[in-house]
Amino acid sequence: MQITFTVNGEERELEVTPYTRLLDLLREDLGLTGVKEGCGKGECGACTVIMNGELTASCLVPAPQADQAEILTVEGLGTRDDLHPIQESFVEAGAVQCGYCIPGMILAGKRLLDENPEPTEKEVRYGLSGNICRCTGYAKIIDAVMLAADKLAVEGSDSSD
């Protein structure tokens, strides 16, 4: 079946089967490998995307449900040479080790800051709690999101750009 959706600002039209996972569609068909498969059952957060403004485990979404949706993956946030303030903050805070959870963490951080630009540390902890990380112990990831909140406040810009 045919679906149409917007990924990282670009409209795409794709032929999918009813049982294709959104995760596979993004990774295999569109090459957006920043979307990671961790547990494959919605428990770890590695495959997180922002779909219609909500954090979504893309491994649990049948592709047809993405019809007409607007999807943001980490690739749509910034580029290597032009990082989004959240990505910049992750680098500066030393928040990345193996990196596997990081695309999901960054999107969870973005979703949190979109809704709550001045979060307390506790709110950041809760905002990231659906994403599991085994390397970092989370402390520097929490620091990074707090730092990003400061940066975005200074920029005074809309973090959704």
Binding site: C39, R125, G137, K140
Partner: protein
């Protein structure tokens, strides 16, 4: 009721394979004409940061900005053995191999510099990617130009370094001259609060002091401490693999719980730089040692809080509640 507890644990950790195992690492560095310095090493970076670390080491020895470096990793055609990323050994072993290669290369920069300037090496300065005579800094040869001149001589501006320390198997009394290349020491104090109604442990603060010789990249070291400690606390508090008849019954993140961002404590680190080993700039390995003290320190904190000793992990809320009930019964009888 909430009960506060504080626990301490101290560990030592002999790193590298040790015990006479032929543990070693080989690395090479090449200065290219196109303004790149290429380090070749098979050391696998799994997130701990060995690639950053070896670039820092080589840049320090070769007196040039780290931005010029790139690393060719783990390719059997292009790299030689660096040993495994295990046993907390890469900073020490591959760090030393890279340091030796960089020292050899620096010596060759002096060598070719003295040929080009027809002078002795004490007259020659090497700094910021430039080779020149002390009395005429403006007339310099860049590393890149030197690479070209060396190529014209039919050679490459490259060097290889290997690090192959000797260790010995302990005898039947556990004695030997040197069983491991060096030892990392770590002490950890953990503050907790136990809710006696629910049996849950709240992690408050973790204070970690680690004698690591030298922190080549302090932020990476902190990352290792935080990650290792949280794994150790997971083991201490919640991680419980249930196996029946050879099958894991809780093979998923909803029933095999690992710590999340809401569970972790606040950290404070003390990096003790004693430089007492043959590691690069005195550095010692810091990966695995960061995990070991957490669970025993936690168990001591639990004892401090509620006066109960636990001898098996994890110290789960149900075990704490059961122990508190038994304790109450004993006290009332």
């Amino acid at each position: 009721m909430k009960k506060f507890g504080r626990g301490l644990a101290t560990i030592m950790f002999g790193f590298g394979y040790g015990e006479g195992f032929p543990d070693h690492s080989i690395a090479s560095i090449e200065i290219k004409e196109d303004e790149r310095i290429v380090i070749r090493t098979a050391a696998a970076d799994v997130g701990q940061g060995v690639i950053t670390t070896v670039i820092q080491i080589a840049a320090e020895i070769l007196r040039i900005n780290p931005n010029y470096f790139e690393v060719v990793q783990g390719d059997t055609h292009k790299t030689k053995n660096s040993g495994s990323t295990s046993a907390t050994r890469q900073t020490y072993f591959t760090g030393n191999a890279v340091k030796k290669a960089a020292e050899d290369l620096l010596a060759n920069l002096y060598h070719y510099g003295s040929l080009e300037f027809r002078s002795n090496h004490p007259e020659i300065a090497i700094e910021d990617g430039k080779i020149y005579m002390y009395d005429d800094p403006d007339d310099y040869i860049s590393y890149w130009e030197m690479a070209e001149r060396v190529r014209e001589r039919g050679k490459k501006l490259e060097a290889e370094g290997s690090f192959f320390p000797v260790t010995y198997s302990p005898d039947q009394n556990g004695q030997a001259d040197k069983v491991y290349v060096a030892y990392t020491f770590l002490s950890q104090v953990i503050d907790i609060e136990i809710d006696t109604d629910t049996g849950t442990i709240d992690l408050l603060d973790v204070y970690t002091a680690v004698d690591l010789g030298k922190a080549i990249n302090p932020k990476n070291v902190e990352g290792q401490i935080e990650g290792g400690t949280v794994q150790g606390l997971g083991m201490g508090m919640m991680e419980d693999q249930v196996i029946r008849n050879g099958k894991t019954l809780n093979a998923g993140m909803t029933d095999y719980l690992v710590p999340t961002s809401v569970d972790i404590p606040k950290f404070k680190h003390y990096l003790v730089e004693e430089e007492d080993s043959e590691g690069p700039f005195g550095a010692k390995g810091v990966g695995e040692p960061t995990l070991i003290a957490a669970a025993p320190a936690l168990a001591n904190a639990v004892y401090d809080a509620i006066g109960v000793r636990f001898f098996d992990l994890p110290i789960s809320p149900s075990k704490i509640k059961k122990a508190l009930k038994e304790k109450e019964k004993e006290e009332n009888s």
